[in-house]
């Protein structure tokens, strides 16, 4: 993975000193709340319901064991012994003290980490496919370009006070595992007819209260033009994005208002001026960064291991785990292992400090000292020999990190909700718990097959509910929590936004409603169809007809009320 040189390290150290000074000035009353807000947000610090929340960047989801151990140390020393991994591959601490946050950043700087631009109206942490560099279907490795984009976007002088936050995702495989089509900019690495590396560029995707799928504005952007083209897009956005209404300030609204063709024209005109400038990416720099991502020393005979098959035959629990929590690897004899942060009764994405240390030990032993964070709020150990899977499984199970449910209903994406977030209208974690209790048998989960259930506690959609095969959105109705269910979303290649099932349901009825919806699926599915396939074939009506106990009209349909508070600090 990328290693800081003296320049990277100096910049991060200087940032710590700058932030320490800003916190001191705030505490001394020299900065008002309003003045301090964007400064702290650009260092990932929110002032939340119970305490500050600190979001730390995990650039494109890559962690070394040294870094993970530092995160464990921070969880113990400065927080309550755990951390929460997010859909943008970052980690959040929910209980730090404001005065101590500069010390936390100083600890992070020692292991080449920071909280720079993890919030605020700036270019956020760039995300990528969690299988970057190890996926069998990969064309090019996104990590190299993510690092190049990270450096270009860090402390960008022109784009640190944008109309709104700005999220970029990069994928390099046939399959989109990074939800690139619902990002402000999605970049898909590909080759042209001459075999040159470039990007398909999508702009204006996003979730939140106005979910929109990104539009392609360039089918092939040569590698050399990556940064100049990004700069052109951002410059158009910075000048013309709306600043009068926070809910209409994302680039998706600008693209929609101008129309994709007109927006593209503006970008191309701007790009024409800067395409041959200092922004032009030279091959030497790409190769310099690429050297940090060379494959680890794989054993050539790893596939020859005789134990893996018999273990699966002898131990059905191990076999189930392999079937669900282990993904194919591009190198024969190696596998990618999901560390499931979906233990029933624990908030999805949460990990204790002891578990972090344990995972770090296992990564050192079995995965060349590297860990990934996935946007589905799990961890991943890439590069595990198949011969090591059995002992690894045992070790993960001892840490309660081997729940064999990846890709099933229990592998939920879930935002922190009312329990932590000051924007939330509903307690998404309680709903996750309710669903876990209802669907607590593995056989049932397996029978329901591949299913993406995404839960958001408010319209800001941190839980990506619009693109869940089943999405659940918490809404506040006169102080009561209600839940709106949508069906048929997807964030992958076949991206779609879910359709709303019908009137929202009271809190106590969420899992029951879900059960009735899934009954319809089980009855109607044809050979091998996933829930999403059946939904696409038969449509919403059969589900709607059976989802409600009484007729839908009996539950008074009300338009969800807009959250009172502006979503200034929405993730």
């Amino acid at each position: 993975m990328y290693q800081y040189d003296q320049y990277d390290q100096t910049l991060v150290n200087e940032r710590v000193a700058q932030f320490r000074d800003q916190v001191q000035r705030y505490l001394a009353g020299e900065l008002t709340d309003d003045e301090f807000r964007p400064l702290r947000l650009m260092n990932g610090l929110y002032l939340q319901r119970h305490a500050p929340m600190l979001r730390i960047a995990i650039p494109y989801g890559l962690l070394s064991t040294r870094q993970l151990r530092t995160l464990a140390y921070i969880a113990r020393r400065y927080d309550r012994g755990y951390g929460h991994f997010t859909t943008r591959q970052n980690i959040q601490y929910n209980w730090p003290k404001l005065e101590e946050t500069p010390d936390i950043l100083a600890e992070l700087a020692q292991v080449e980490m920071h909280a720079i631009q993890t919030s605020g109206n700036c270019i956020r942490n760039v995300t990528a496919d969690h299988l970057s560099g190890v996926a069998p279907d990969e064309r090019e490795d996104p990590r190299i370009y993510c690092e190049i984009i990270r450096q270009w976007s860090t402390f960008h002088p022109e784009f640190s006070y944008l109309p709104r936050k700005f999220k970029i995702a990069v994928t390099g495989a046939a399959h989109d595992r990074a939800a690139a089509q619902v990002h402000d900019i999605g970049l898909n690495l590909l080759h042209n007819a001459e075999g040159e590396i470039g990007f398909r560029v999508l702009v204006g995707g996003g979730l939140g209260r106005t979910p929109i799928i990104g539009q392609v504005i360039r089918e092939f952007l040569p590698q050399r033009d990556l940064l100049s083209y990004l700069e052109a897009i951002l410059r158009v956005y910075n000048q013309y994005g709306r600043r009068d209404n926070i809910y209409k300030a994302r680039i998706k609204i600008l693209v929609k208002a101008l129309g994709t063709a007109h927006f593209r024209e503006q970008v191309e005109t701007e790009w024409g001026y800067i395409k041959d400038s200092g922004l032009t990416l030279d091959t030497a720099e790409v190769e310099r960064v690429r050297r940090y991502f060379t494959p680890p020393p794989y054993e050539p005979d790893a596939a020859g291991d005789p134990g893996f098959e018999p273990w699966q035959q002898d131990d059905p629990a191990f076999a189930a785990w392999v079937r669900h929590n282990v993904a194919d690897h591009k190198v024969a004899g190696y596998r990618n292992v999901f560390v499931a942060l979906k233990t029933p009764g624990v908030a999805p994405g949460d990990l204790t400090a002891d578990q972090m240390d344990a995972v770090a030990d296992l990564a050192d032993r079995y995965s060349f000292g590297q860990i990934r964070v996935t946007h589905h709020q799990n961890l991943l150990l890439p590069d595990v020999r198949q011969a090591d899977l059995y002992p690894l499984w045992n070790a993960l199970a001892a840490q309660k990190l081997a729940t064999p449910v990846i890709g099933t209903l229990a592998d939920m994406i879930c935002c922190p909700g009312l329990d932590f977030c000051s924007l939330a209208s509903a307690s998404s974690l309680a709903i996750a718990h309710q669903i876990n209790e209802k669907f607590d048998r593995l056989d049932d989960l397996y029978d329901l097959g591949e299913l993406r259930l995404n839960l958001s506690g408010c319209m800001n959609a941190c839980g990506h509910h619009h693109v869940g095969h089943i999405g659940i959105l918490g809404v506040d109705k006169k102080g009561e929590e209600w839940y709106q269910i949508s069906l048929g979303g997807s964030s992958e290649n076949d991206v779609t936004l879910g359709d709303i099932l019908g009137p929202s349901v009271p809190k106590a009825e969420v899992a029951n409603t879900l059960e009735r919806v899934l009954h319809v699926y089980v009855e109607q599915r044809q050979d091998g169809e996933r829930f999403l396939d059946t939904f696409r074939r038969i449509g919403l009506d059969p589900f709607r007809a059976r989802a409600y106990i009484a007729k839908p009209e009996a539950i008074v349909p009300r338009k969800p009320r807009a959250t009172q508070q502006p979503a200034v600090e929405a993730a």
Binding site: E35, P38, T154, Y161, S277, L279
Partner: protein, 161 residues
């Protein structure tokens, strides 16, 4: 006379500002964009140093004929979080080669000065209730930068990294 930061030093500001409907004094004046458009010919005949304050919605590409007549371009930050003027400053410097003073006016605060300087601003009318001496610290908080901007045409990796 008000003080401002110019080229990283605190100086007395000799530029005078007046309301649009008041007759201009002699000497250097900083006028509004509206007044420039209304009185362009008279202002050009005046033969005294002239600066113009532009709204942050002004398209810099439309100004190429005007720029040679202005010693100062003042760009507005109606709120410090409104970052449109950063783009205007970069375009003035990098695309249109403007060599005069680019002054930040409005909600100009210490913690944005470094970004402004990188974007091409060289003068800062720091908000009156804040210390200019404190604000000077902003320029030395970072010793390097990754990306090209108005102060540096090359990215870090092409500068002997």
């Amino acid at each position: 006379m008000a003080r401002i930061i110019k080229n990283r030093q605190i100086i007395e500001d000799h530029w005078q500002t007046t309301a649009d409907d008041v007759e201009l004094p002699t000497g250097s004046v900083l006028i509004s964009w509206a007044r420039w458009n209304r009185e362009r010919a008279a202002l050009l005949a005046r033969d005294e140093p002239l600066g113009v304050q532009l709204p942050n919605t002004t398209n810099i590409a439309d100004l190429t004929a005007d720029l040679p007549h202005w010693q100062v371009v003042a760009l507005e930050f109606p709120k410090f979080a409104d970052g449109r003027a950063y783009s205007q400053a970069r375009l003035l410097r990098e695309r249109y080669g403007y060599q005069g003073e680019i002054r930040a006016v409005g909600d100009v605060l210490r913690d944005q000065l470094a970004f402004m300087a990188r974007s091409g601003f060289d003068a800062f009318a720091v908000r009156a209730d804040r210390s200019l001496e404190d604000a000077l610290a902003a320029f030395s908080e970072f010793s390097e930068s990754y990306q090209p901007a108005a102060d540096q045409p090359l990215p870090l990796y092409r500068r002997g990294r």
